[in-house]
């Protein structure tokens, strides 16, 4: 992008879900939390689609989009405006020293202020650091290493750093997610890259980067006759039953069935593969079930469940492998296994999750993280206090 183009002022206004979706379709990828169909899933929040426009040769051109969720404070008509893993703008352009994040964020905060927001939260989906599977493995076995930050990353990205640096300059405040999962979106994620040297990997190449255990388990499942199929809306009930069982076993709070039905109803019509339910069965028994999501070239493993019985048939590995194959077939460049904690402490209960994901041979990535811009300082401060005490 030339400096002349950058000098063109950007305007921002509300757009229809159709305009929003049309823009998302022009992008190689965007977070699924930023597609218009995600708004209705969060039914307890109000939502709105916004678009950035730049004057072009033939009229206006839409150059960015955001799904804004408005969370109302009890009793007052004031909102936290939340753009989970968003907005969808040309983040890569910030390698250009003349690119100013303020050109994008200033119209956003002016607009949201008028809408009654007391604060804004964004989460640029931009990688700042990467660590390889080998580094993580080494870190877990090294007692001196307790967190990802204790190891120098494979890469520090100038783009991610430029965004962090500019957010500080513009007065945004990082919402540090120390240690485990914080309230917002995870800052550390696990990615399996599906390209090499700019071309798509073959299934064999993906398999080869996995560790031996993963490869053996995938083979074992195939040999045992585990079958993975795509589910219908009616199958959500069976998924949910297994998911509740998993939640009891692994000590997390399950979401209600209605949440998944809402996701299905809103996301499925938007695009093929936007929301897919996968069911792994062994001799008719459901042994694992997962939900995958894809937006353009980015495929996510979103929710998973597995039975306690018949663990030896390795339904989980079978269904993961099936999701990876589908992502490859759809031309995805990354298979995203979502959040990890930054712990590499062998005694931490969360380390098992990262070890499972590391077996795929992917990489841990750190995102820019979530940042807040307080608009009304007293209300924002009260909100922060309330969130802390919750």
């Amino acid at each position: 992008m030339s400096s002349r183009q950058l000098a063109q002022p950007l305007t921002l206004r509300a757009v229809t879900p159709a305009e929003h979706l049309a823009f998302i379709r022009t992008q190689p990828s965007a977070s699924f939390l930023q597609v218009p169909a995600w708004g209705p899933v969060k039914s307890e929040w109000q939502h709105e689609s916004l678009g950035w426009f730049r004057p072009g040769a033939d009229g206006e051109e839409m150059v960015g989009a955001a799904l804004v969720l408005y969370r109302q404070l009890p009793k007052v008509k004031r909102y936290l405006a939340y753009l989970p893993e968003g907005p969808v703008i040309d983040w890569a352009s910030f390698t250009d020293p003349d690119a100013r994040l303020g050109d994008w964020l200033d119209p956003l905060s002016a607009y949201l202020k008028k809408k009654g927001a007391f604060g804004i939260r964004i989460g640029p989906p931009v990688v700042t650091r990467r660590w390889s599977a080998a580094q993580i493995k080494e870190g877990v076995s090294d007692p001196a290493v307790r967190r990802l930050d204790d190891i120098a990353p494979l890469e520090r990205t100038p783009t991610g750093a430029a965004i962090v640096s500019q957010l500080h300059e513009l007065g945004w405040q990082p919402q540090a997610a120390e240690g485990g999962f914080a309230a917002g979106q995870p800052q550390y994620n696990f990615h399996v890259p599906l390209t090499v040297d700019g071309r798509a990997k073959t299934e064999d190449e993906v398999l080869k980067s996995m560790n031996q255990l993963w490869r053996r388990n995938i083979k074992k499942a195939a040999k045992a006759g585990v079958e993975v199929t795509r589910g219908t809306r009616d199958d959500l009930a069976a998924f949910h039953e297994l998911y509740v069982h998993t939640a009891e076993r692994d000590h997390f709070t399950p979401r209600p069935l209605s949440y998944f039905q809402k996701m299905w109803d809103s996301l499925t019509p938007e695009e093929d593969d936007r929301f897919v339910l996968h069911l792994a069965r062994h001799e008719g028994d459901l042994v694992a079930a997962t939900i995958s999501i894809r937006v353009g070239q980015h495929a996510w493993y979103s929710y998973g469940a597995s039975s306690t019985e018949k663990r030896d048939v390795r339904g989980s590995n079978a269904v993961q492998w099936e999701m990876i194959r589908s992502a490859l077939a759809a031309g995805a460049t990354v298979y995203d296994m979502r959040g990890i904690t930054d712990t590499l402490d062998a005694d931490d209960p969360h380390v098992g999750l990262i070890q499972f994901k590391v077996g795929t041979g992917g990489e841990a990535v750190e995102y820019v993280g979530e940042w807040d811009l307080p608009i009304n300082r007293p209300i924002y401060a009260a909100f922060q206090l309330y969130m802390k005490r919750r």
Partner: protein, 358 residues
């Protein structure tokens, strides 16, 4: 007639090596009065450290940091490595008068974009570090300034980024992290970080998180003056006069308030004796102590930095240029002419007549 800094040589050298060993990449700082030792002596000692480092395969003291361009010549003959100048380069003054004989050994500190262009114009092969502005707000560039440098940093020899941190008040790490992020955002062709005023544990954290960086800790006080037990300052008793109450003495013809002795000792304003710099200690206790000293002044005598038998002496009148007058009340042990007495001074503000290293 001398104010002397006595150094327990073996103990001091052992301390220097100990600091170096736990500080990989150590860059000794020698500036101003040379922390009381003198710049020349510190330059030779840095060379000694560097030689020991090479022997063990470590990098210590291959670079010596000085404060100003005028100090470069004082260390350049006694030390053979690179010389980092901490005062930022400006297109005027002493920075432009570096002796060509050692221009190649000098690493400039650059704190403004326009200065980098001007420096490279004058010296295309200049070695330099880019200073980032810290919460001290002294000199340095912001992240935006760095990103605006563009291709300039590919020219000359960029030796790293430099941070001048304030004295520890809580942890510096988040600030350091933020500043390195600024440097990463500019995609600078360097992975070296010159820092000061980090604690040992902060260094340890930094070395873990940034093991892809070379860290060069700049240390002055903690290195040269870190083991106070190895250092002792003495003055000589030059004369002793018994006085009775009402006797007249001194430049200002004061009268003795009671019987005792007037002592003439070496050390005066030329050495920095009696010239108090603000201590920087803002605690209630130290402020109360200042008030108390003011009180003594009002009554007549002020506490001096001289100690006899562990007891602090009072000035009989303000220090002279090279000697001071002390008042010893009747009953105190009286030293003889030629005796040495202890002096407690700030090393960075004192010029010693002599430094004796055992």
């Amino acid at each position: 007639m001398t104010l002397t800094l006595h150094v327990d040589g073996p103990r001091w050298r052992e301390h220097l090596v100990e600091v170096a060993e736990r500080t990989p990449g150590l860059v000794p700082v020698a500036k101003g009065n040379g922390y009381g030792f003198g710049l020349g002596r510190l330059a030779r000692r840095t060379q000694w450290l560097a030689d020991r480092g090479v022997g063990t395969g470590q990098t210590w003291g291959d670079v010596l940091a000085v404060g100003t361009y005028d100090e470069v010549a004082e260390v350049a003959d006694r030390f053979h490595g690179s010389i980092l100048v901490l005062t930022p380069w400006r297109p005027f003054g002493a920075a432009l008068e570096v002796d060509p004989a050692f221009a190649g050994r000098v690493i400039h500190t650059v704190s403004r974009a326009e200065d980098l262009a001007a420096l490279l114009e004058r010296q295309p092969d200049a070695r330099y570090v880019l200073e980032l502005v810290t919460s001290m707000l002294r000199h340095g560039m912001t992240g935006r300034d760095l990103r605006g440098l563009g291709g300039l940093t590919a020219r000359g020899r960029l030796e790293g980024i430099a941070l001048h941190l304030p004295l520890a008040q809580g942890s510096h790490l988040s600030q350091v992290q933020r500043l390195i992020t600024d440097a990463v955002s500019a995609d600078l062709p360097t992975r070296t970080l010159w820092v000061s005023h980090l604690t040992d544990s902060e260094h340890e954290r930094l070395r873990a998180s940034y093991s892809d960086y070379t860290i060069r800790p700049r240390i002055g006080t903690g290195l040269w003056l870190g083991d106070r037990g190895a250092l002792k300052v003495t003055a000589q008793v030059l004369d002793v006069h018994p006085v009775e109450r009402g006797d007249v003495f001194g430049y200002r013809s004061r009268t003795a308030p009671k019987s005792g002795h007037v002592l003439i000792v070496s050390g005066g304003t030329a050495h920095g004796i009696g010239l108090a710099a603000p201590s920087g200690d803002l605690s209630l206790k130290s402020r109360a102590a200042t008030l108390a000293r003011g009180g003594l002044d009002a009554v007549g005598f002020v506490r001096s930095p001289y100690f006899i038998g562990g007891k602090q002496c009072l000035f009989a009148e303000p220090p002279h240029m090279q000697a001071s007058m002390l008042f010893l009340p009747h009953g105190s042990p009286v030293p003889a002419v030629g005796d040495e007495i202890d002096v407690r001074v700030r090393f960075t503000t004192t010029s010693f007549d002599r430094v004796e290293i055992s």
